[in-house]
Subunit: 337 residues, 2 copies
Amino acid sequence: MKSKRIGKRTIKLNNKPTIISAACVVGPKEGQGPLKDYFDLVLTDDLYGEKSWELAESKMVQTSMRKAVEKSGKKLEDINYMFAGDLINQLFPASFAARELNIPFFGIYGACSTMAEGMSLSAMIVDGGFADLSLSGTSSHYCTAERQFRFPLELGNQKPMTAQWTVTGAGSVLIASSGDGPKVKYITTGKVIDKGIDDGNNMGAAMAPAAIDTIDAYFEDTKDDPNSFDLIITGDLGKLGKQITQDLLMKRGIDISKVYTDCGVKMFDLEEQDVHCGGSGCGCSATVFAGYIYNKLVKKEFNKVMLVSTGALLSPTSTLQKQTIPCIAHAVVIVNE
Amino acid sequence: MKSKRIGKRTIKLNNKPTIISAACVVGPKEGQGPLKDYFDLVLTDDLYGEKSWELAESKMVQTSMRKAVEKSGKKLEDINYMFAGDLINQLFPASFAARELNIPFFGIYGACSTMAEGMSLSAMIVDGGFADLSLSGTSSHYCTAERQFRFPLELGNQKPMTAQWTVTGAGSVLIASSGDGPKVKYITTGKVIDKGIDDGNNMGAAMAPAAIDTIDAYFEDTKDDPNSFDLIITGDLGKLGKQITQDLLMKRGIDISKVYTDCGVKMFDLEEQDVHCGGSGCGCSATVFAGYIYNKLVKKEFNKVMLVSTGALLSPTSTLQKQTIPCIAHAVVIVNE
């Protein structure tokens, strides 16, 4: 049955692309957080036996992908496509992981929205009959992101309380044309939204309007009921961005408050772990989904989830050129049927 | 009719995704080259009225996309998806273009393979019924690439003769589920290939093995005849990489010599324009395709073309960490039927 467009921006997938497995790896700090029991591997050293943090991040993506494939009982050579990307310039971690995995590779970049971007593309490619098995994954690493986007770690710079903590982690999912598991049912693709925030230490406020735009578009297109969801989860807006999203959606008449949280809020204990507004980075929504949410979907504790990964598309160069921060959010609705 | 996989890595598209329009913009130097009559706009100033080269590059992508949509008689608000990316960290030009164009956006990164990557994804998305209209485009700019990957222009560094010249240009195509124009018929997606080259001034030699791998996979999967093509064009391997590709494919029993050239070779007059091995950058295969090749396809001077955009997935960070250069090549076969 052919899938179809609903409204302006949403696709309904009718061929049941199925997430047959998921896997994730996190760093030591993430392994001490509230989701610690959901991760497949918690590193004791964030260099992961490599000579650089970038190579460690690349190895994390590889491990999450290999584990996802292993868990499904498939082999790497059976995988038709791999969608991956990360925050690091020219996708160093993903590109080097793709070299080792030897799978036809589409590099993608959506900053911290990359997980939902990859899942959207994998699900469409599988649903359309172009692939039987498609991997999507992404990663971030506190140490690679800090030195690329902010300051050398050695400086020990303090951050304002609106800042978030880049998650060290990688998560991947394997989407298949058949098999057991939750299905990707709807996809709403983000537009780039920029409300004029130029403070790179306040990404939650910058990205919230993009999340609002995409969630609003989904409900406009589908006339779905927010309370039919077990979980609507943005990621990674953090504590402040979460509040803005909930409040401003309420003003548009969409009340998600009963089922809503954010991956950046779930990842860490905000009181105890000194992460200010919460987690961020591509690896945040990737590991919260591949660890916590996927597990709950498989156990039927969740039966309908909307993952809205959010990304800030700024660069150090755009910031130096005094540009504001363009943001994007991609929504994927996953159901047990 | 459902499209299908052929062999290990190739998709045959059965629903005739059609390139209904294409447009491109180039810089002053490109506008003096042998393809000058095929470009929609030749800039007289590579700042294009902007305050920075990155903003100029972003405006070039925008212009090429707006022109492609205009030529088709469609409107921007009718476009379902936009696939774009470029060489610049965090896709600064593409992300800012997507903000202005207000189209649901998938950011992609394949270095100089981005044009064929975007065309592959747009064609599949349209063929699968997920979109009626999907834009794909990419850009590069000599001045943004030089300062990011090599040296400040002000230093006036000399380059070895194996180096190539980054094209200032942006090209876009609009792929539709119906309409007149050449059709995307086959897609062969690249794997990341790395034969150990670590010299960023010899990208042709680094990328040639990726082109060879993808072209070989296409012929292996389809049993097609190289001489049935009017043109097989890699991009951007330059003079040296082109020779390597042709020679090594010949050793594998695939003789493409009668129909083969390279976008980097076509773009400039290699004797007169002082570009050493030829053109490079995402904008090279994008403008050669959207300008020269698309024009010849529409006029039925070409009826079967294979575009194999090639990308080097290195970064300044991976180079500093003494890593070799992972490369990729994506093939798209376009026909008049």
